[in-house]
Every structure is written in C-alpha cells, then in structure tokens.
C-alpha cells in the first residue's frame, strides 16, 4: 500500500493485549448488601428473595437444562468465582418460561419465549453437531464459543434455525434475558460498582463521578489503558 493508492487503507488492526479471564476493574471491599439496613423494606425483601429464593427447575428437561447452563456459562462466564458465589441464571430463565413471563411484546417472526428457548437450545445442539460432531455440552469452551458466534452472526448450521431467526433469538431473547438476570444480582452490582437501592437515603455525591462515603473507589487491576 503506497500513499498514492486510491484504494482505502485497510484498518490497522490494533491488537489489544488479551484480556484475562478475571475482572480488570474492582471496587475493593464494596458489598452492596452491607447497605441493606438503609433500604426500604419492600426493596430489601425483593432483593433478599432474589438472592436466596432461587426457583427449582420446572420447565426444561434435564438435557435442556444442561445445554442451557452451558450456554449461560459462556455468555457470562463466572469461572473467577467459587461455585457458591456464582449468580444463578438458568433457574430464572426456567422460571420465566414456566410462568410465561413476558415483557409486553413479541417480535412477529419469533414464537412465544418458552418455545423460542426450546427451539434455540435444540438449534444450538444441532449446530454443535454440524460444526464439531458432538453435543454442545461435550465441546471445549473455544468450540462452544464458535457455535454461539455462529448463532449471533445469524446463520448457524442446522434445520431448526429455519424455524427460528437465530440472530433475533440471540439478541432479543437469549442475551436480553441472561443479562437482565445477571445484572439484577447484588454480586454483579459489586463487580461494576453500582450503588444499588437508594431509598430513603438518596445520593449526595452527584459531581465528578464521586463515590458516596459508603461506596468504594475503583481500582484497575490490569496494565492496559482503559
């Protein structure tokens, strides 16, 4: 490529150093649940139930739940946490499907959520067989990621995807619900430094992104510029 070339210059690929499989930001000592005495009773009870009353599996079959759990583990991996500290996600998706909980809309080319999940899990397994010859749960993490990337790009292999638009399922059902559950959990709030419930106390430190006295300051754990 010379400077006289009229062809557009290829984007210079800036190879960022690989990000580690652990957080690169931390709010040391921040535990949003330690603030619960400052919350109103309705909110406190709601969050308490969310943390402690994880619903049993009622909707999916054992095979489906294994696939769903494997998918969820790749969407929001929690391999940096001991098992007992991980945010439960699959049980809440099962609960939504079982109770037919929806958000007030359905895209015209998608079936009802619970049907879309069943088809989606079936499609993910089919794509796993097409691409790697094994069930999704039997793949390596890299292989699982390759399957999910194919789904997110919209044209994964397998006959089920002819009945379910893959990209729309992935964005508007799978990613939307998984992130809704994860970022509703106090463990995720600690991770991202979100102050959480704030009534009746309110927030006082409104300027310069300052923390409240009871919030923590951010610490960067990696060397990469943010």
């Amino acid at each position: 490529m010379t400077e006289h070339s009229s062809a557009p210059a290829p984007a210079v690929e800036q190879k960022a150093p690989p990000r580690p499989h652990r957080p690169v930001v931390a709010y040391p000592g921040f535990d949003v649940m330690a603030q619960q005495d400052h919350w109103d009773p309705a909110t406190r009870e709601l969050i308490r139930r969310r943390v402690h009353d994880v619903p049993p599996i009622r909707f999916f079959t054992p095979a489906e739940i294994r696939t769903l759990t494997a998918v969820v583990d790749r969407v929001l991996p929690q391999d940096d946490r001991p098992l007992e500290q991980r945010i439960p996600i699959a049980p809440w998706i099962d609960h939504r499907c079982n109770e037919r909980i929806i958000e007030g809309w359905r895209l015209e080319d998608l079936p009802p959520d619970e049907e879309a999940w069943r088809l989606g899990l079936q499609g993910i397994d089919e794509s796993a067989h097409h691409l790697f010859g094994r069930a999704f749960v039997a793949l390596t993490e890299d292989e699982q990621d390759a399957v999910l990337r194919a789904v997110s790009e919209g044209s994964p292999p397998g006959p089920t995807w002819r009945r379910l638009p893959a990209r729309r399922f992935w964005i508007y059902i799978a990613l939307r619900q998984i992130t809704s559950i994860y970022y509703a959990h106090p463990t995720a709030w600690n991770e991202i430094g979100f102050g959480g419930p704030a009534y009746p106390r309110g927030y006082f430190a409104l300027n310069h992104g300052n923390p409240e006295p009871w919030e923590a300051r951010e610490e960067r754990l990696d060397e990469t510029p943010h």
Binding site: D40, V75, I171, S180, Y183, A198, Y199, N207, G209, N210
Partner: protein, 541 residues
Amino acid sequence: MRLRINLSPDWVLDTEMREYPTAMPVDFCIVGTGAGGAVLAQRLARYGFSVVCLEAGTWMDSEDDMVSDESGARPLYWNDLRITGGGEPLLLGANNSGKTVGGGTVHYAAFCPRLHPSDFRVRTLDGVADDWPIQYEDLEPYYEQMEREYPVAGPALFPWGKPHSYPFAPLQSGTAGHVLIRGCLELGIPVVPGGPIAITSGTFGKRPHCIFRGFCLQGCKVGSKHSTLVSHIPDAIEHGVEVRAGCMACEIPIDRDGRVTGVRYYRTLDDGRYQEEMQRARFVVVAGYAIETPRLLLNSRSARFPNGLANSNGLVGKRLMAQAGQVVWGRFDRMIRQYKAPPACAETEEFYETDPRNDFVRGYSIQTVSPLPIAMAHLITEESPRFGWELRHLMEEYNHYAAIGVLGELLPDERNYVGLADERDQYGIPVAYVHFNLFENDRRLIRAAVQKAREILEAAGARETHYVDRYAHLVGTCRMGDDPQTSVVDQHCRSWEVPNLFICDGSVMVTQGSANPALTISAIAARTADFIREASLRHEL
C-alpha cells in the same frame, strides 16, 4: 370505597372514594388514567360531571409496591402481549406504556418540553405531514396550567420554540448531565441544565423534593417526580371521580342511533378471575394511548361499524408515530456513575427546527438518558451481540459510560400502523399488532442526530462512542383534523362519527415534534375539558 395508598413518605391518600353503580349512566366513562385520562377526569369532576375511570392496572403504593430496583419495577409496565413487526420493530413494554393507576407517567423520565409553534404547521412550512387543526396559541394557556400543576422545573428563560419561563428552579444535575452540558458548551451549542423536568426542585404540597436516587423509570417512591398518580388523581378523587382499578376495557357498545352506551370491561377479582361488567355512560372517552386506544376501537365492531368504532374512513390505528430515540454513549477515562440523579437532567433543542443546510426537514433534541445496569447491558448486546468475558469486561466499565439520547421527529405515514393480531391476551381480547418502518427523511435525520450526539460526547472527553437504535413515545393513531375524511377526531378530540365518543391521549397528535409528549397530551386534555364544559353550558354537547 376506602382508599389507603402511600403516594410519598409523608402522604397517604387516605380517603373515601365515591363509587357509581354500573347500570346507572355516569356522565363520563374514561378508559385510562395516564397523562390524558387523569387530567380530563380531574377537570370534568371539578366542572360538576360524574366520572368513572377504568384503569387496567392497579394502584401502586409508593412504600409497598414501588421499589428501588431495575427489574423489580416490572409491575409498572404494560407486560401484556403485543406483536411487534415491520422494518424497525418497536420494543414495547417498559419503554412505551404503563399498566397502573397513573399510566405511563408513573415510570416516565419526566422530561416535559412543549411543542414549538412550528410543529402545528409542518405542511405549510416544510411540505410534509399535516398541519394541526389548532395552533400553538390554542395550547399555550394549557401548557402554562400544566407546568404549574405537574409542576415543571426548568430555566427562567427557555430559549427555544416560543421562549417562556418555568415556575420551578432547574433541578440539580448529576455527573452524566454535566457530560451533556460540557460537550455542548465546548461546541458552542446552547444547552439547558435541570429542565424542563417534572421533578420538584422544592417541596410541593405533600410532595418532598428529589433525593437524586436515579430510579425515575422505576416509579418514584419519593413522590417528587410527577405522575398523574400524585398530581391529578388525588384531586380527581376528592371531587368525586371513581378510579376503578384492575378493569380492562374490551368493547364500547353502541345503540341503534349509533351512540355509545358505555364500556364493557373485565374486572380482575381478588381470586385472580375476571368478571365481565359494563359501565353505562352518557359519554365515553378513550385515553389508552396510541396502542390500546386503537385496539379498543378496532375490537368494538358492530353492524354500523364493521371495521371498528369510529373507523369508517379506515384511519383508526394509522399513522402511528414514534420518535427517534437513538441512545449514544461514550466511554470516559474519568468516573461518571450515571446511576445517580434523575436520568432526565439536561437537554438541547438547538437542532429542533428545519435547517435548509440539512438534507432532511424537521429536527431533533438531544437529552440525557443514563441507563441503569440492565438497560446498559441491553444497549451493549444490541450494538453487537457480544458475550463471554468480552461482555463482562465491557460492563465492568459501567461507571465510565455516559449515555445521551436523540429525540428526533419521525414523520407520520399510513404504512406505520396499529392493527389486530390473531392472538388473544389473558382476557381473551385480540391483541395489538404494531407495524413500524423508517422512511428516507427519518433515516437522514437519525444519521445527523447520532453524529451530533457523538460530537457532543467527544467534545466532553469521550474516548470512544457507540449507539443503538431506539424508538419511544408512540402517538398519532387517531389523529385530529379539520376534515372527517382524513382524521378520526376534531380539534376538541370528539369523534367525527360518534357524537358522544371522545379520544383524549397521544393518539390524537398530528405530528410530535422533538418534544416528549406527556405535557402536550395533558394540555390537550385540559383544553378538551374546557370545551366540554362550555359546550355543555350552551346545551350543545
């Protein structure tokens, strides 16, 4: 019946609410208690009419039912099924309508700008859409009333549209608001901090001032943010209105003369079952917003109106409008913590009007958005369907993001509409099908608006910017006009075809400019109430 509802920490609506028998006609049966229905009910009651409001949702007690939590706010939203499609399917639910006493105002951000004078004359000025049958001056006195009754905080001199002042001082902004202000000032763009926002910057009656908790879209437990639940409904009840909650309207029957006789609805009983009832009324007002209003009319079929009530010209449900609500966010080296302070913080209307230098007509506003974590995660995954540690790392930066939003005028088009789908909801009523597309002027406007928002964030120091398509504020499906052939209601929101039927919500808007619609809807309702009183006094109703 005895009501005992907390509206704020220091205010219990503890009163006897009048109840009307269903078989005796009341003067007005109003469907919906949002920005339109509640204001109309309150005024009609003060003018001496008997009024029953049917509300599909329930009472939300600010202490017991509202929470400081993003996903816990679900009960405020319209979660019943709707099918959404077209080239740009609108995401409904939380984003666009409420199902509770107070309607969508209970969870709106409370940005409350007025329309500009030019909005009422876009056909004359720009050769697009249609002129309204009324002018800015017709609504101006009602804007002033609503800004005192909501009330609205904002600058002493608001420079855009017809310049005017606000009765309450600007609200304090958080750091995310400062980002928009700083970016605009760096570029020499006029910007107003702290308004126009319907959040009290001082104590107002029994409503304390804002505590900057940031959960405006989840229902204000403080009672500081406006909703009709705290602004007009208590006064309506004091003046004899019955708000019948948990009652989902399903049909408006007519008699042999083609006049409506009341509203059929399903009342939710204590054991969860639905009971069909009918409230008889001399006049019916539909105020269910731009999806439920046309849905109710389309579901009210008769030999006289085989295509739905008041729909002989086929325009009920047509010309659905949304506003371009593209969310644009930047990542900053410095801390933002955008969850603090109300998401509605600051705005500029500098690009609101048609500018001949643009390749499109009409314009846009830019406002603060400041999503909480779940909403932020949705933006990030919709921009690009990322997952894995990449997604976790992006969300770790939550406190470094500031998100602002375009609020752009999209033009009405008959190819955007609300119809009926094959499916039925839990009551057995056919659900709405919502069809939405963008057209050329819309696309050009959005391109320019997103670019401007990016420039503002970059000028404020953003290291990188991103955006996602969003659409908000649904209006226009039962438009008002001067001609019965090309509109559904007249300038007083009265059906051309059914003399004792009114429609009084965002459905009647002809265009929607780049202003959030609540204040305009309430102003139209207050004007309609005055028309009804005057016509009634002249025995012309």
